[in-house]
């Protein structure tokens, strides 16, 4: 196992089971096999980048972990315990949260309502506790050092792309998750907004959260990830530390041109 993680990341001691361990995940859509036995480990406080060409199975893999589209076969372990993830509620209960590429925010609701959607605070039994939610929203955004949102009561539909991405990531932080999955978090953003989002990712890592980040942007990936895992045709074909000299090998593995330079391949 023991993938080489970069210095600076909180590396778990060897005997401890990783936060998330996937073994042999498979998923078919009719005759198309989107995932054919994918393996992946993520430690606490580690940023793992999942890269690969379109159709490599990245989205399928994270949908299996989040329960949006459960896998057909294979095992998922959290902290060494085998778990079953059949619906988004299951993964949420395990402390896994995801930020989707299309953000999955409700434009007609304000920031607070979006942050707490599906896990609203209540008082006196069944009444929404707006004040607690608003205070918690402020606290959360301050903790993530978000300075771009003027009012947590603005409708999300009125926000810019960067602000929406911020809301989406902040939302994934509610309920103190152990693992956060980010699907193309910087795809639609400008330079400064991208920098903000990557800053946010580093902040998640410093809080000891495991992060899986999916991206097409290798510059972003090498800037923020500890480890880079390449998927190709529904299986993991190799993994590298995010050292600049590995860039060529990663590109090769993504395109399938040359994977010999991989310094380690998961068993």
């Amino acid at each position: 196992m023991s993938a080489q993680t970069q210095a600076g990341a909180a590396t778990a001691p060897a005997p401890v089971a990783p936060l998330l361990r996937l073994r042999g995940l498979t998923k078919s859509f009719g005759a198309v096999q989107a995932m054919r036995g994918a393996d992946l480990d993520v430690a606490a406080g580690e940023v793992v980048a999942l890269v690969g060409d379109n159709g490599a199975g990245k989205s399928t893999l994270i949908k299996a972990v989040t329960g949006v589209q459960p896998a057909d076969g294979g095992t998922i372990e959290m902290d060494g315990v085998p778990v079953s993830i059949k619906a988004p509620q299951d993964s949420a209960a395990l402390g896994i949260s995801a930020v989707y590429q299309d953000l999955a925010l409700c434009d007609n609701l304000d920031v607070v309502a979006n942050l707490f959607l599906g896990q609203e605070s209540q008082r006196n039994g069944k009444v929404l506790d707006e004040i607690a939610m608003e205070k918690e929203s402020r606290r959360l955004l301050d903790r993530l050092a978000v300075k771009t949102l003027r009012s947590v009561r603005s409708e999300v539909g009125a926000l810019s792309g960067g602000q929406r991405q911020t809301v989406a990531i902040a939302r994934s932080m509610l309920g103190d998750p152990k693992l956060v999955i980010l699907d193309e978090p910087t795809a639609a953003l400008g330079v400064s907004q991208t920098a903000q989002v990557l800053e946010l990712v580093k902040r998640l890592r410093s809080e000891g959260i495991g992060v899986i980040i999916i991206s097409h942007n290798l510059a972003d990936v090498f800037q923020v990830a500890d480890r880079i895992v390449v998927l190709r045709l529904g299986a993991v074909t190799g993994e590298w530390t995010a050292a600049p000299e590995n860039r060529q090998a990663v590109v090769g593995a993504i395109t399938g041109a040359d994977i010999e330079n991989g310094d380690e391949v998961t068993p």
Partner: protein, 412 residues
């Protein structure tokens, strides 16, 4: 109670195109919000004022206590049905069967009570149960088989109309004389009871507004300005007092109107203060986002359809109580269209996720006023239909324009 600082982070992020969100509301702002449909209730109140002015000028009997009492009775049934329609519209769905369900439920109640000699209260409960069962059936069909609600409820419209004819049997008309049933629409609150209800309502409105203000200030959050609060609660207080004075000067506050307002207040609470209500808005805004956030979308939709059909059944019972009879055309004619037109006129978006349940009451008032006013002017049905249709088209156009303006400003 100290006035706490407002938003803590006024700084802009680097290069972020943050929009001004937070300035003092101005008149121009209010005008823009009106156009963009954000103040739906205020907009419909203005429309109502215009309609009332026109009819008051055209016929001096329109604004009399007797006529306004009649208007209150006329809108009670359709307004109750509209409450359910609002819930369904908020989901971005539609229920075309509410008229037929109201007719069928009324028929079930009438036949059980009159022909089968059931206790009238049991008959009413059975009718409500039929409504709920239909809603659960239609909601399940629509969500589990993923059939558009438009189609499922259109099929329902036909089936329940047929069921109504079957239930009524050969006689076709059942006259109601059971006091427990006829009293629903036939009861007027004694003046002091009317005032008691009014005072309770005013205390509730002002009290909850002040309590909320105090809580937010205590928590150090931005709170509504005192002036805004006074204007808002003051307007509601004046409206309630005027309504009770006018209704008491005739026969008293109708029980049916009290029921309708009570339902609206309860459902408004559910929509704005509970998780269930929040999820209805979320599903109407983006069903996939809600699903991923853990909202059980299918169960929620089914529940809402069940509620809508139950309110439709209740509306049918109120209508039957007022007419003192159920016949083959109960729940038919333009009832369905008016019960949908009302909320839409009053600002509930057909695209889902926007609007309040007050639109059921206000919309019924607008549509009812037009109908009542034209009756007073002895206009023909031809004219009535065309005018009502025109008002609906105008309202939907406003909704569409509001949506486009929102999108133009980058908010879908």
């Amino acid at each position: 109670m100290s006035t706490a600082p407002a938003s803590p982070a006024p700084a802009f992020g680097p290069g972020d195109d943050t929009k001004e969100e937070h300035h003092r509301p101005s008149l121009a702002d209010a005008g823009r919000k009106l156009l963009e449909g954000e103040m739906g209730s205020l907009r419909v109140i203005i429309v109502l004022a215009i309609i009332w002015t026109i009819f008051a000028l055209a016929n001096d009997r329109f604004l009399t206590a007797v006529n306004l009492s009649n208007l209150a009775l006329q809108i009670a049934a359709v307004g109750t049905i509209s409450v359910g329609v609002v819930l369904v519209l908020l989901l971005g769905e539609i229920d075309l069967s509410v008229g037929a369900v109201s007719g069928l439920a009324a028929s079930v109640m009438a036949v059980l009570s009159v022909k089968n000699g059931w206790n009238p209260y049991l008959a009413i409960i059975a009718a409500l149960g039929v409504g709920m069962a239909i809603g659960i059936f239609q909601g399940t069909m629509s969500t589990r088989l993923v059939i558009p609600s438009f189609v499922v409820t259109l099929a329902g419209l036909l089936m329940w109309q047929g069921a109504q004819l079957k239930v009524l049997g050969d006689t076709g008309t059942v006259n109601l004389s059971e006091p427990a049933i006829t009293n629903i629409a036939g009861t007027f609150l004694a003046p002091w009871v009317g005032w008691l209800v009014a005072i309770a309502a005013i205390v509730g409105i002002v009290g909850s507004a002040l309590l909320n203000l105090q809580r937010r200030r205590a928590a150090g959050l931005e709170a509504e300005s005192m002036l805004g609060l006074i204007i808002r609660t003051g307007a509601a207080t004046v409206a309630i007092i005027v309504a009770v004075v006018v209704l008491n000067s005739d026969r008293g506050v109708p029980l049916a109107l009290t029921i309708l307002v009570g339902i609206v207040v309860v459902m408004n609470f559910v929509l704005t203060k509970t998780r269930f209500g929040r999820h209805i808005y979320a599903v109407g805004g983006d069903a996939e986002a809600a699903r991923r956030a853990g909202v059980r979308v299918a169960a929620l939709r089914t529940t809402v359809f069940a509620l809508a059909s139950t309110f439709a059944a209740l509306g049918g019972i109120i209508a039957a109580s007022r007419l003192l009879a159920v016949n083959q055309s109960s729940g038919g004619s333009d009832l369905l269209l008016l019960s949908i037109a009302g909320p839409v006129v009053a600002g509930v978006s057909l695209f889902g996720g926007r609007g309040t349940v007050w639109a059921a009451l206000l919309g019924a008032l607008v549509i009812g006023s037009i109908s009542n006013g034209m009756d007073l002017l002895a206009l023909q049905s031809s004219v009535k239909f065309m005018v009502t249709g025109g008002v609906l088209l105008l309202a939907v156009s406003l909704d569409a324009v509001a949506r486009q303006r929102r999108q133009a400003r980058g908010r879908a």
